[in-house]
Amino acid sequence: MIKIANLVKRFGDATVLDGIDLDIAQGEIIVVIGPSGTGKSTLLRCLNFLERPDAGHLVIGDLSVDVTRASRADILAARRRTAFVFQNYALFANKTALENIAEGLIVVNRWPKARAHARAREILERIGLADKADAYPASLSGGQQQRVGIGRAMAAQAEVILFDEPTSSLDPEWVEEVLGLMKQLARERQTMLVVTHEMGFARDVADRVVFMEGGRIVEQGPPSQLFNAPRDPRTRDFLRKILAGQPA
């Protein structure tokens, strides 16, 4: 259960998030769409405190925090309740696939190494990379690296996994395997907040699609409504542009 209330983020004079309100139920899959530079990634990064929001209130599971007064402990708590999947994978280059997944369990959750590695092996099995346990990121394909990135997020057992354009850096040949893994997680009712330009994924998988522009949520609803009968002209305009470039 996540409640975002009046979240504001400014970079200098620019207001990147201009009062975002969003509730996410347990097991809900939300896809955020919108033009570039509208604050979609910043929203995710604020939930994880990779960016410090300037105002707002966050509830993430049993954590409730006014972001302007968030202490170091609050920030660590928020990070432990949210897992992040990065556009450029951001795997630890000095660790194997197995170690990348186990790292948080060992260092953050203080699990014994053997237990963390056993869990990491289960996750490698689920993401279809059991045979790559001892491979370092440099020797993995982009698709495999991103699956390990998702595996690392799965290991955290967070309230929500935040996906920041997880397929945007991938060569086209690897996009399907990553989306496939995300669909598998969606079927398991993993709570997900996904920023993506993959409209097919949004249509097929999302419970709710959120359209953002200019740091605000313009419109949201189930994919059937948002894609087939958008109410706001800005949504219609964006969808017309983006769908013109994609097969219907």
């Binding site: 897992a83 990065f86 951001a90 194997t96 790292e103 955290a156």
Partner: protein, 224 residues
């Protein structure tokens, strides 16, 4: 032209080797202290700690901007005139002090570059899973920075071993000082100095082998 006196050279080797431990000890002590000091300086530079950062820049500028020999003379002959308690300083201590300060100025900059060079997104990834700054440094940044810094740090260590020969100008009888004395006794200057040159060369080559082995080990994770 006369023929080289090989017997003299062979006889000289064991004599000189008695002074090798002192040379290596000064270099090892200098390197250990320089590593500690330069890591501190590098962290100050990376975090841009107010005040300390400016002092560090001045320190680095001075010790990179003046010759090591001048610094050694300054510590050994100069400072004791200002600071009475330093009159007790011996040549070995002054050499180690000079090597430490001089080389830490260079090493701080390469360590800083190695830390800054670690991909920023990995830092974010580590923070995103809830690591503290300390954990992030220890588990992710420093292991990768080490790999980048080791080749240059090894080069500085090799340089430092050679630089210990300057200690003879402070009256320390190490490898170079011993050679000087032997040569002055026998008048076989060429034989004596070519022998010590070869000894330094062998030590440096051995270290270069170790360096290559270490680099291969550290690069294991990055081979495709």
């Amino acid at each position: 032209m006369r023929v080289l006196d090989f017997d003299y050279m062979l006889g000289l080797v064991p004599v000189l080797l008695r002074y090798l431990p002192l040379t290596l000890q000064m270099a090892a002590a200098g390197m250990a202290l320089a590593l500690i000091l330069s890591c501190g300086l590098a962290v100050i530079r990376v975090l841009k700690i107010p005040g300390l950062n400016a002092a560090t820049l001045l320190f680095i500028s001075f010790f990179r901007g003046t010759p090591l020999l001048v610094q050694l003379f300054l510590f050994y002959y100069g400072l004791p005139q200002l600071l009475a308690f330093l009159t007790q300083i011996n040549g070995i201590t002054a050499t180690i002090m000079g090597l430490t300060l001089h080389f830490s100025a260079y090493m701080a900059e390469s360590i800083r570059a190695a830390i800054v060079g670690v991909d920023r997104s990995q830092t974010e990834a580590a923070l995103s899973i809830g690591m503290t700054n300390g954990q992030l440094m220890r588990r992710i940044v420093l292991p990768q920075a080490t790999r980048v810094a080791v080749p240059t740090l090894m080069n500085y260590f090799i340089d430092m071993i050679k630089a210990t020969s300057l200690a003879f100008t402070l009256g320390v009888t190490e490898l170079m000082g011993a050679t000087q004395k032997e040569a002055a006794g026998s008048f076989l200057y060429f034989e004596a100095f070519i022998t010590v040159a070869i000894l330094y060369w062998i030590i440096v080559e051995l270290l270069a082998w170790f360096q290559r082995w270490l680099e291969l080990r550290l690069n294991r994770a990055y081979r495709r």
